[in-house]
Symmetry: C2
Subunit: 152 residues, 2 copies
Amino acid sequence: MKKIVLCCLAAIAAGVAGTASAQFRTPESAIKYRQSVMTVQGRAFYVSIGGMVNGRAPFDAKVAAESAELVRMTAQLPWTAFGPGTDKGAPTDAKPAIWSEPAKFKELADKMQLEVAKLAAAAKTGSLDNLKAAYGPARDACKACHDAFTSQ
Amino acid sequence: MKKIVLCCLAAIAAGVAGTASAQFRTPESAIKYRQSVMTVQGRAFYVSIGGMVNGRAPFDAKVAAESAELVRMTAQLPWTAFGPGTDKGAPTDAKPAIWSEPAKFKELADKMQLEVAKLAAAAKTGSLDNLKAAYGPARDACKACHDAFTSQ
């Protein structure tokens, strides 16, 4: 993990990465970043929140709210990592349609962000019923984008 | 990325992952998760916030606050992924000392979480000076733990 620190410091020293939406140094680093976002988000959504919603774990309003907020925040992150040329460079399940049908990709990505924002708001109410009501639409919005734009 | 969804659904179906701190199915999945957390956190910290602190990017109080909050939240996540047996199973820079010196590991991990919580609080004030003041101690706390417990 020191490599990550060193890599970031190297990127900074090179002056190539300066803002929140700064370009990635290589397609590989972009692919690694967006996959990392999905891994972190997937666990918060399917394991932490999903566990409570589906009765596999006791409801903990604080954990639910933090997990849903994490899902909301991570939902904003991967898009800058789908820049031109990042369709290859490392193993990726991203379909070419992401770059050939950008309007549809954006539509589904926006829908997902809208639904997980609703999920985060629902979680903040501290009500399991509200969380359950928002979970399904958020899950469906995630799935719709993955079904359309990722291969197995 | 569909694999992530399917993997999570499979874990859920198997009933092995139910809470926020649920065990991971395999050492490999734990290693992948903690590395993903570090990748997401590293970009928010070194690229987004670091860019503003070091003058490579214009200060945006909203982005700084969201990035610092993301760092604070992700700082809570990786620890359950350092369970017994996760010292191998996939390429990892984690040193054996993580498991042989758990008290020291916890001490540095706690210190890091404390400093990034201060960073998030500083970012919420909307002041670049406050952000700068909290950034150095947070960076040093990250580095201290990586220096002690990760190899290159």
